[in-house]
Subunit: 231 residues, 2 copies
Amino acid sequence: MATHRERPPHALQRAGLSRERVLGAAVALADEGGVEELSMRKLAKKLGVEAMSLYNHIASKDRLLDGMVDVVFSEIEPPSPGADWKQEMRKRAISTRSALNRHRWAVGLMEARPDPGEANLRLHEAVLACLRAAGLSYEAAIHAYSVQDAYIYGFALQERALALETSEEWVEAAERTLRDQQAALDAYPHIADIQHHLAAHGFSHEEEFLFGLDLILDALEERLADGRRGR
Amino acid sequence: MATHRERPPHALQRAGLSRERVLGAAVALADEGGVEELSMRKLAKKLGVEAMSLYNHIASKDRLLDGMVDVVFSEIEPPSPGADWKQEMRKRAISTRSALNRHRWAVGLMEARPDPGEANLRLHEAVLACLRAAGLSYEAAIHAYSVQDAYIYGFALQERALALETSEEWVEAAERTLRDQQAALDAYPHIADIQHHLAAHGFSHEEEFLFGLDLILDALEERLADGRRGR
DNA sequence: ACCTGAACACCGTTCAAGT
DNA sequence: ACCTGAACACCGTTCAAGT
């Protein structure tokens, strides 16, 4: 190590890239402009380098996306096996939703990558460990995991589409719809009713998320009394 | 109509395109090769025409995708308002899943398009009508709709990723994982256990889907006893 | 009204060449 | 070992021109 030669100060040499720097910049770029804004050329420019340099650190754009997805997985807090499984699963679901809201480009990609990254596996392992420690059979654990994840990722998908953040924005959007689309809404009276309801009461993604989450967790708890006895 | 002039038989003139033909070909192309295979140029070639001709029938690729998504919505059987809401919702969920399995490219797009198409609105209206006819309050209807759709679309998302069809394929895949990734699995004992379970018992997407769906519908029925009394 | 060729401003990726 | 320029085979879309 001490014998390592000093790098000569050639102008071309010193970009200082690394897999981590590339991944970090890619995530930041996608966070700002969406995944369709992410091109190898733009990413390179952001790093002060030509596009082809990136290929020294990642094999292809597809592998870049794999890495980015695993960055998102690494931000999700894994459950601990000891404590109350329902509480742990609830925290993990909330943590997942907020990671997906910070990185909206990731929603469709998280479940879509074959061969998962390390952070993905670690989280996966922790969830299974928690459920098994709670006494669930393999079948019950698979069932429980499957419903929860379908719900969490599906909810995030809808939330990404319905881009309104606050309850006030919902009121405003509903009022605008009622004003501008009045004629169209005549054909869809129940949709119109719902718009009226939203204009009057607003809407909270968070509240909505927790309603469904607790519905599912409570129902699982009831059913898994059976699962625990072998079923 | 009778006075309509015969079209002269010029060589360039007679492609006979229409919005419907374009949409149909686009859906077929995406069904075969996935959405990344769908380019304006390839679509045109499939229709025996140059890419630029397509722009006489659809405004842009984005509007093409809008149209394709609405084709998928049109294949989902809407619930009827009179009958048992749980049964109607169950049938509609199953119909949605099978449409999404026929058109796997659509999964991430169905919920992602601003301004919905006609088939989308018609289905949306029918679902709300069914829930309201069953006596649910606006709040309860929104809750019920939201959980169900999150689950349905989220499940389809997972199913698309886990591309294995039959239970036998699952057994085979699990066996291969256990054989090839043995070292890696040492670090993740619970994942390894699940793979063993899958290798022994197989896995059915359909069964899994129905477990979660019925869990949710039953739980909704219980809670909505309150929703019906105004809550 | 519908179709087209040429062109523009982009893509991801390969490959030989530089240091 | 890392970075680059030129090149290849693609994209979506515009625009003027054809019939």
